[in-house]
Symmetry: C2
């Protein structure tokens, strides 16, 4: 079984982002450079990856952007984050993980995907184990700015 | 392959809690009734479960209790949550997931376990997808109060 490098996982992550956002929102997303000050947070949707590749994929977004994207996905308007918005953003990170898996596991299943956890708050941060590899990608989709974070331990 | 019911998963979760806390802290933990007001939070350690059983296992704890348990695990004193405390609590939830897997997967691997995410903050909440089953267990270990949350979708 061919196991991708971290750099290949980064490329696969970008392919997954482009595929999922293009399909979901009918518009090519922009991969952007992340400034520290821009790391929009307030809602994080996290799915675990377990297997030869163990890790997690997190999508961090501002609540108002989460409402806008969920509204676009569901054809409705949401003024604030409720369980429907949470589920829509959970579905988005789930699709991203599924697409990442498709691009990364052409020769065998390297990981399985958990259901998403949504973290919502005005003051929190997320932390990965110190020995894990981290990939951070900024994405501009419609008018929203998202941070997509992939944290992995690859067993070789 | 025999797939456990949610009620069996609840029993397996309690066995895992007793096994892991007893081994780690040399003292039998107490399974306690959770009052809403008692749901200590401030640090959450979450591992994803992916496979026939998809879900996540979360451990919610107050930062001061996290420091105390990490100190007990590592034979040191921690005044506040740093990366060492985060990693220790991550290891604790990882052991819980491993033990839950041992008790739940006697006849085949029902899920794989991701690496932990740690959420740290003074104002946040965690949310599961609306169609998932939830199990909540209160645990008193040494002087700490923890909430162990298991969220699962069982494919039958």
């Amino acid at each position: 079984m061919q196991i991708p490098t971290v750099s290949e996982m980064m490329d696969n992550m970008k392919c997954a982002i482009i595929e999922v956002f293009d399909t979901t929102f009918g518009q090519q997303p922009k991969i952007v450079q992340l400034e520290d000050s821009e790391k929009g947070q307030g809602l994080s949707a996290i799915v675990g990856l377990g297997g030869t590749i163990s890790g997690y994929l997190a999508l961090h977004i501002m609540p108002e952007d989460a409402c806008m994207l969920a509204g676009n996905m569901l054809g409705a308007a949401y003024a604030q984050v409720d369980s429907i918005v949470c589920d829509a953003i959970g579905e988005l990170v789930n699709m991203l993980a599924g697409s990442l898996k498709k691009f990364s596991c052409r020769n065998g299943e390297l990981f399985k995907i958990s259901i998403p956890t949504i973290v919502l708050g005005s003051d929190y941060s997320t932390h990965a184990p110190k020995d894990a590899e981290r990939i951070l990608v900024g994405v501009r989709a419609l008018s929203a700015l998202l941070t997509i974070q992939l944290v992995v331990n690859i067993q070789r």
